[in-house]
């Protein structure tokens, strides 16, 4: 087998040195009744060309070449080519966790730069080296708030990504932590009156997302005030990292739980992505995940090390701030390089392009459908309501190799035939105009939607 660097002669010599007759001797500790005497039923050994062909077929069956208007927590942005050139270097790709600092300075310094840039963008004092993704980062941030305040309940906005809320429910349920869900108002943002009624002296934190799942920017200052007045912390989740180029970061937050996938990480059918937690200096010892710190070596040279490790599982074991061990290091490196490429000016320009594309699309759609939350500040996503079922609309769009906005019935049934659409710098005007045209078609002929047998097939 071509990955194995031993010849039959090598194996012979080694067995002789060990004093074993055959390699089966080495498996004697396994009770005989369990030892397999048959081949595993997995596909037969394939040549490299066969492997590539097999996956190429899968790629063709997976919508390659389609235009997408989907966002909802995973965003299609341009990935500058040098990201892959650099992360594909064996010294980054095949390196281990940087526990041995002397021979991991490449990894450690790049994480330090990542942490610094995340702080700069989010307005926080300290950021970690990554969490699994935005959903688990949000859940861990809430757990962190619980540890910090000693309070055992949390309030979450319904406009937070539904799957993020599901993950939080799973974590919270097992810690016996009650969660209160607060509705959004007619403008798409958190209902402040309802929020005021829900926050109490038992609330550890309020969790919001901004821009939220419906595309709306939340009033972070007002929500922070409300939380802090009650001694609760504010956790802000950010799913679309590119928004930080043009939208003020939530400086009043106590913890930011981010998803950095938009920064150069491929959509990849849902993962791997790049969660991050950033917070204020005084909370650093309750932060989960790895942290890289600057220090000097014995000759005074600057270097970097993993630090504050006593928070982590390998030392604290059952008292650790989290059980996280492996994180998303390589993906964080992609985000790091992306942030470096665009930088101070580029990230703002990139965000402006996103703003412009989606503003144009929203305006065009609003001539044929109802823009659900007009007038309220948004970034690159918006909700429309159509008279035709969005699943039927999307079925039609699919025929033109366009993937339409995400139907919201599954998550927010009260919004009826609503769907959330996203435009990024990669969405062309032609694509927008085509999509709008195809949606417009339906708005004049609602009847046909219900007669279409194909409606079911795009149900999600």
């Amino acid at each position: 087998m071509r990955y194995l660097p031993k010849s039959p002669a090598d194996r012979e010599a080694m067995l002789k040195a060990i004093g074993a007759r055959s390699v089966d001797d080495l498996f004697a500790p396994i009770p005989a009744e369990y030892r397999l005497s048959r081949d595993l039923k997995v596909p037969r050994q394939m040549a490299e060309s066969e492997i590539v062909d097999w996956f190429r077929e899968r790629s063709r069956e997976n919508g390659d070449g389609y235009t997408t208007f989907l966002g909802a927590g995973a965003y299609y942005h341009y990935r500058p080519v040098i990201i892959d050139s650099l992360i594909s270097r064996g010294e980054f790709l095949t390196a281990y966790t940087p526990y041995q600092a002397e021979i991991s300075q490449g990894t450690l310094q790049s994480i330090f730069e990542f942490q610094s840039m995340i702080c700069e963008l989010t307005g926080m004092d300290v950021a970690n080296a990554s969490m699994y993704d935005g959903s688990t980062a949000a859940a861990e941030a809430v757990m962190m708030a619980v540890r910090l305040t000693g309070r055992r309940s949390a309030v979450i906005a319904r406009s937070v990504h539904p799957e993020y809320r599901e993950v939080l429910e799973t974590y919270a349920h097992n810690q016996g932590l009650p969660l209160t869900v607060v509705p959004f108002g007619g403008d798409g943002g958190v209902d402040l009156k309802a929020l005021e009624k829900s926050v109490s002296q038992q609330t550890a934190c309020v969790l919001i997302q901004s821009p939220n799942f419906l595309g709306a920017l939340e009033d972070v200052t007002a929500i922070a005030d409300l939380a802090h007045r009650n001694g609760a912390l504010l956790v802000v989740s950010i799913a679309e990292a590119v928004s930080l180029g043009i939208v003020e970061p939530p400086r009043a937050a106590d913890i930011v739980a981010m998803e950095a996938q938009s920064f150069g990480v491929p959509l990849g059918f849902g993962g791997p992505y790049c969660g991050v937690i950033a917070t204020r200096e005084q909370y650093v010892r309750q932060m989960p995940g790895r942290l890289v710190g600057q220090t000097t070596d014995r000759s005074g040279k600057r270097g970097f090390v993993l630090t504050l490790a006593t928070r982590e599982q390998h030392i604290r074991r059952e008292k650790a701030t989290s059980n996280i061990c492996t994180n998303q290091a390589l993906v964080a490196l992609m985000a790091n390089i992306f942030m470096t490429i665009y930088g101070k000016i580029g990230l703002r320009e990139l965000a402006k392009h996103n703003l412009a594309k989606s503003a144009y699309a929203a305006q065009q759609f609003s001539r044929h459908a109802k823009l659900t939350f007009p007038g309220h500040p948004r970034f690159n996503e918006f909700v429309i309501q159509t008279s035709e079922d969005p699943y039927a609309i999307n079925s039609r769009l699919l025929g033109h190799k366009i993937v339409g906005g995400l139907p919201l019935k599954k998550f927010y049934p009260e919004l009826g035939h609503a769907s959330v659409w996203c435009c990024t710098e990669l969405t062309t005007r032609t694509a927008i105009d085509t999509a709008v045209g195809l949606v417009a078609q339906s708005e004049g002929s609602v009847k046909s939607a219900h007669e279409e047998a194909d409606v079911q097939e795009v149900a999600q």
Binding site: V23, P29, D39, P43, S88, L93, A95, I103, Q328, R378
Partner: protein
């Protein structure tokens, strides 16, 4: 140094600064195409929410970025350069075809919410990998949702809790051997279970008498690693499973050490009810400096109803789809479906091997560990004489007489061009040297490693200071971790003007 043989090692001495130190207004590495829609006035659209300034974010050119990260990379050790003898990490070759197939357009750019009609490719990958992993583990069902091993452990324990709750007694504790990886007790606590320590016997294996005494109806599960962190196979696994099952408990297996078992034995066959796998260990997905990983959890039939939502099903028309209506599910542990990019890589690895390759891989992994054990026996103390599978644990007892500890030996190993083995773990062996070569090491590489370790042992006798002050050949040496922890500096700040 006793022997002049030096392996390939890279520690470029050039001082590469932080990227912020190269930044200068007006430099850029980006360019956007012209806007094909009308420009917008951000202040009008966003009002007070508009951000005008991105502070100290850098401005550099493309070549500076290429040079910066290329230079940084040369300060790293990597599998591509040489062996990592790290125990239980399974640092094997990361095949490049894995990287190519994960970048095919439909796979790399598939949106997790795109309609099922155009997601059949991704779903088929998930189905095929799932089937392979079920077959490899001897279990009945699987979830690929957890993002890493620790996440898989969390999921596994949630499944255990849900199962017990459904029988009416949620139970209170988890038994964990004292040789276990730190994620095990950390995870149990996160899920709200009390952790009870299980002592190992004189052979380094589970103490059956202790287990029988501690196993009762308050214990939800035993979390076992097999082979354990000493690299030793629990020969009495049948008895262990029986004791746990007799009191209605479940047997959880930490699959970190699957590299000793694939194709030779299946955990499902020896009584395991639920286990996690580490795709970034056994299944060759790259470590990438600390992640991403992937921690699928495989289960026996009775736990299937509780698996995280959604599960993959075959619909009546033969196409694949996700099923969300799962009333007994523990819920979600992550948004979307898991680290899909790692599924692609792991599947490509399994296909490149086939059943014969997988078996040969396991045999070579165990052969390699035993070869190193034989080569270092007598030079380093072997605390347990029980046979090793894919990894071997020595101790620094002989060298400690001269005041040299395992961490010092490890640092000296760097001068010989190797990454250190795992130091100071497992906790049941004071001064441990935990070594796992994996099947990816040639006889030549291992002979160099054995020679290096023997040479270091000689140095300990003749010139201990050389070892205590190591490493001598790296760009930085013995970084001050105390200062880093007392006064943490966790981000760059511009010098005060």
């Amino acid at each position: 140094m006793k022997h002049a043989t030096r392996k390939a090692t890279r520690h470029v001495n050039q001082n590469e600064g932080l990227i912020f130190e190269k930044s200068s207004p007006g430099k850029s590495a980006w360019r956007l195409p012209p806007l094909d829609v009308p420009e917008v006035d951000a202040s009008q659209l966003l009002g007070a929410a508009e951000r005008k300034d991105l502070g100290n974010m850098p401005e550099v050119s493309e070549i500076e970025i290429i040079r910066h990260f290329t230079r940084l990379s040369t300060w790293n050790y990597a599998i591509d350069l040489g062996m990592y003898p790290l125990g239980s990490c399974t640092m094997k070759y990361n095949p490049r075809v894995n990287e190519v197939v994960s970048r095919l357009d439909g796979i790399a750019n598939g949106h997790p919410y795109q309609p099922e009609k155009i997601s059949q490719g991704a779903m088929r990958i998930i189905r095929t990998l799932s089937d392979c992993l079920i077959e490899i583990t001897g279990m009945d069902a699987i979830t690929l949702q957890p993002a890493a091993g620790a996440h898989g452990e969390l999921t596994g324990l949630l499944l255990i809790r849900a199962y017990h709750q459904s029988t009416g007694n949620p139970r209170k504790k988890i038994l964990i051997p004292d040789s276990a990886h730190g994620t095990n007790p950390a995870t149990a606590a996160t899920v709200g279970y009390a952790v009870e320590n299980l002592k190992s016997d004189a052979r380094g294996m589970v103490d059956i008498t202790a287990l029988a005494a501690q196993m009762n109806e308050d214990v939800a599960a035993l979390m076992l690693t097999n082979p354990n962190t000493l690299g030793v196979f629990e020969q009495e696994i049948a008895r262990i499973a029986e004791i746990v099952h007799s009191k209605g408990g479940l047997l959880y297996m930490d699959g970190a050490n699957m590299n000793a078992l694939v194709g030779k034995v299946r955990p499902g066959d020896f009584g395991v009810d639920v286990m996690h796998l580490n795709l970034h260990k056994t299944f060759s997905t790259p470590h990438g400096g600390g992640g991403p990983g992937s921690g699928p959890v495989a289960v026996k039939k009775m736990l299937e109803p509780f698996l995280p939502t959604p599960i993959l099903i075959t619909k009546p028309d033969g196409t694949l789809g996700f099923e969300y209506n799962r009333p007994q599910s523990v819920g979600r542990v992550r948004a979307f479906y898991g680290n899909f990019g790692m599924f692609v890589r792991a599947l490509a690895y399994i296909m490149a091997n086939g059943p014969d390759g997988l078996r040969q891989t396991t045999e070579d992994a165990v052969l390699n560990a035993n070869y190193i054990r034989k080569g270092l026996e007598g030079t380093y103390e072997l605390p347990y004489s029980t046979p090793s599978m894919h990894e071997v644990v020595f101790s620094d007892k002989l060298q400690a007489r001269k005041g040299v500890k395992t961490m010092d030996l490890a640092k000296r190993l760097i001068d010989y061009g190797f990454h250190p083995y795992t130091t100071a773990f497992p906790l049941i062996v004071p001064g441990a040297l935990m070594i796992e070569p994996t099947e990816s090491e040639s006889k030549e590489e291992m002979d160099l490693f054995i020679k290096a370790m023997r040479s270091i042992a000689e140095e300990v006798e003749e010139d201990p200071k050389l070892v205590l002050d190591a490493p001598h050949s790296t760009r930085v040496s013995r970084l001050d971790e105390t200062a880093a922890a007392r006064k943490p500096v966790l981000r760059w700040k511009p010098a005060a003007s």
